[in-house]
Structure formats: C-alpha cells, structure tokens
Symmetry: C2
Subunit: 243 residues, 2 copies
C-alpha cells in the first residue's frame, strides 16, 4: 500500500511575530505519525489571502491530505476560508446548514460577525462530530481546522482515526561517539537496508550520550534486522543503551 | 524605509515525524520581531534535496532574508548545503578555509565524515564569530544555520543585531466580550488606522478574559492614537485590563 502523505498549513501572524509558540503542528505531527501517515511539510503563513492560497494550492497538489490550522474565526484577520477558496478557484458562499447551526448556538443574539463563519468555499463538505458544535469544513483533500488548541486537537485525533493506516515501529540507539565517528556506520547500514528511516540527532548538553540514533520502518522484521546490523557495525564502546 | 522581510526554513524529518518540538523558529520569530524584521513565513521541510531546494528558492526570491535551520552535520541525512546549492543552480565545492578550520578543530583525528562539512555552495561566504568555531555560511540572501538550539540561537542573536532596524511597539487590550461581539469595533478601528497591525486571539480556558487584542506599529504616536480610539469604541464593560 502506498503511504499516505500530509502537509500542515498554520495560518497566523501571531506565530510569525513570536507572540505564541505554535503547538498545533507538533501535536498533528505526533498523531499523524501514530496513524502511519507521513507528514512531509509544515508551513506557517501570514494572515493574507494570497499567502494562504499559494501554500494550500502547492500542498493540495502534492500531498494526499492537507490540514489547515487557524484563521476561521469572526474577525478581520480570519482569512483561511477565503484563502482555501482562492486556492481552488472557488467562490465563498454562505452555507445554510452552517448558518442555522450558528444561529442555534448564538442563543438568539444575531451577531453579524459570527455569521462570517458561515461562509465556506463553494462545494465544501461539512463533517460533524458529537463533541464540538462547529463542524470540520473540508474542500477536496483540504481539512480546515480551528487554531485554538483545545478545538484543533480533538479534531485532529478524530481525523487521524479515519486516516489510520499501518503504524511505524521505532528502535533507538544512544551513542557516546559523535556524529563524525558514526557517520560511516550509518551509511553502511543504509546501504544494506535502503528502506530504513534512519535519523541521527546530536545533543550537546547531555552527559549520558552524544547522539540519539533512531531507526524506523513499518515492517517490524526489517526494522529488527537493520537494528541488529547497525549494533554489530558500531564500535561496542560507542553504544550507551538501546530502546 | 521599507520593512525588511524574512523567512525561516527548518530542515528536519525529526520535526515532521513529531520526535522533537521545533523551538528554533519560535526563537527566531521573537528575535526578528525585536529587531524590527517582519517574519513572513516558516516552512519545515523533509531531509530531501529537492524539498529543501524548492523551498529555499521560493523564499530567496520573495523575501530579503532567509534563515535555514538544521541539516548541516556530517551524517547521511544532512542535505541542506546540497539543497541550497541546488536552489541557486550552484555546485557544492570544498572550501579550503573551512577544511583547515575543521582540521584544526578535530585535534588531529582526520574523520572523513567531518570533512563533508567543508562542502559549501560555490560562491558562499563564511562569516566568523568569536564564540562559535564553525562559521555561518551565507549564499546570497540565505544564511545557513545549525539545527542544534545551543548553536542556532547565538547565531540568530548575532545576525539580528546586524539586521536590526526600527522595532515594533505594542499595546494590548484584554476583552471579556467574545470575538463575535468585538469584531465590528476592530474593523472600525482598522478603517481609521489602516496601517495598524491588529490581532485578536481568543482563549477558551481563561477565566479572566476571553480575547487578547494586540495593537502594533513602528510609529509609537500612531499606535497610541489607535489604542485610545479602540478603547473608546469598545463597550466599557468588555475591557478587563490593558498593557
């Protein structure tokens, strides 16, 4: 089965100006990984229709799934719906079902600004979930999610359950030898196991080890073979511990 | 003076697979903001030459400054130099000064892998700083920085001191009224002060206020005028506090 790919597009000047540290892309990265979906790209773009449209179009053409985060509230800087519509050359139209839902949820107070949230790209689908009153708006392969983490996270969890394919398995080797020393062994291991996802991450302020080496594969047997092979290749004194 | 713009390109499968929460882009966002440089885009791309090259080319053409983070170590997955070279249609060449520096720093151990780090895009400039032995490699408007935060951060601080233009000033209003209620006042304020950078950020689990409204400008007088104007527009009971 071909692996599903995904991109996350975070819309928000508050991230670009350093006012908040985005946690949504990190949350999505972990959930997608667990679901066996390969996240290939994260982009943070400004609250500008053109910037959103260009990035969404780029991602929608290249990846199976696109998740957007943020920019769907009632205020002037909420432009994601417009940006996604532009990415697909669609108009923004008021969705009657969404209008009714907003009306119901507003407790009789007809606030003009809130009805801005009923405007979605023409042809978009609404997917409802029992725990959150506002549905997820989907256009083609783009899922438009709210930026507030308390709303974003449950929606991602729900979507990932739908995406879930085969998961990744991982082993870890902690090395006392630095990257320059172990590089040749990593290369040799990759030559023998070309499908292995092999990462090496140096840590400077760690007294226990100098490099964390991660080995990943969706094939558990292949992974264990590669793991054993790399352990044999590495100088014995280099290996601090494994997981 | 025209505002300087910047993009940050983070290279790293470890971020996309959710193994680490990237802090470099958040650090850079805050430092650039303090320096008065407008960060317009953050992208996290995979450890793949094509993905790096495409993103770097896109950013280098559109923004004044591009910072890359990560992918410059000695191992197989360190491909940023190759990606940046490809973005500009250049070759990778061994830099003699960098080779000598690496030699010196290696204490006589000639590790082949480490000399991979002497390969830079043809025409790149090296900029040395007294506190870190490895120089910053620059090609055109692209600054190639290491991904380890302890190395990335001091290099960003140093660069931002060079970029520093006029800083942004900020005022904040905390509102007890929700976004749907205040949206019209924000719009009215923007109509009067079109140059104002106005952000509104709802917080769900906060008992003190419901929306944080940020007003920013490089012109302190303009900012204060806009701040006073918005305070007058907002219903008095909506305003919890200001900063």
């Amino acid at each position: 089965m071909k692996e599903q790919t995904c991109a996350v597009v975070v819309v928000g000047n508050e991230v670009l100006s350093g006012k908040i540290h985005d946690t949504n892309s990190y949350f999505a990265a972990r959930e997608l990984r667990k679901a066996g979906v390969a996240l290939k790209r994260i982009a943070v773009v400004a609250d500008e229709v053109d910037a959103i449209a260009q990035e969404v179009r780029y991602c929608a053409e290249r990846f199976d799934i696109v998740l957007t985060s943020g920019g769907i509230g009632p205020t002037h800087d909420d432009l994601t719906m417009e940006g996604v519509a532009a990415a697909f050359g669609r108009k923004l139209v008021a969705d009657p079902a969404l209008s009714a839902l907003i009306d119901e949820h507003s407790g009789g107070r007809r606030l003009a600004a809130r009805f801005k949230m009923a405007n979605v790209p023409e042809g978009a689908l609404l997917s409802h979930s029992p725990d959150l009153w506002f549905p997820t708006v989907r256009l083609d392969n783009v899922f438009i999610l709210p930026g507030i983490p308390q709303l974003f996270e449950p929606k991602v969890v729900k979507l990932c359950a739908e995406f879930a394919a085969s998961p990744y398995f991982m082993r870890v080797i902690y090395s006392q030898a630095g990257e320059s020393v172990i590089a040749e062994y990593l290369n040799a291991c990759l030559e023998r196991f070309p499908e292995l996802l092999l990462g090496s991450y140096p840590e400077i302020d760690n007294s226990e080890y100098r490099v964390k080496i991660t080995l990943e594969s969706k094939d558990r047997v292949y992974l264990e073979q590669a793991f054993d092979h790399l352990l044999q290749l590495l100088p014995r004194e280099a290996v601090v511990k494994t997981e």
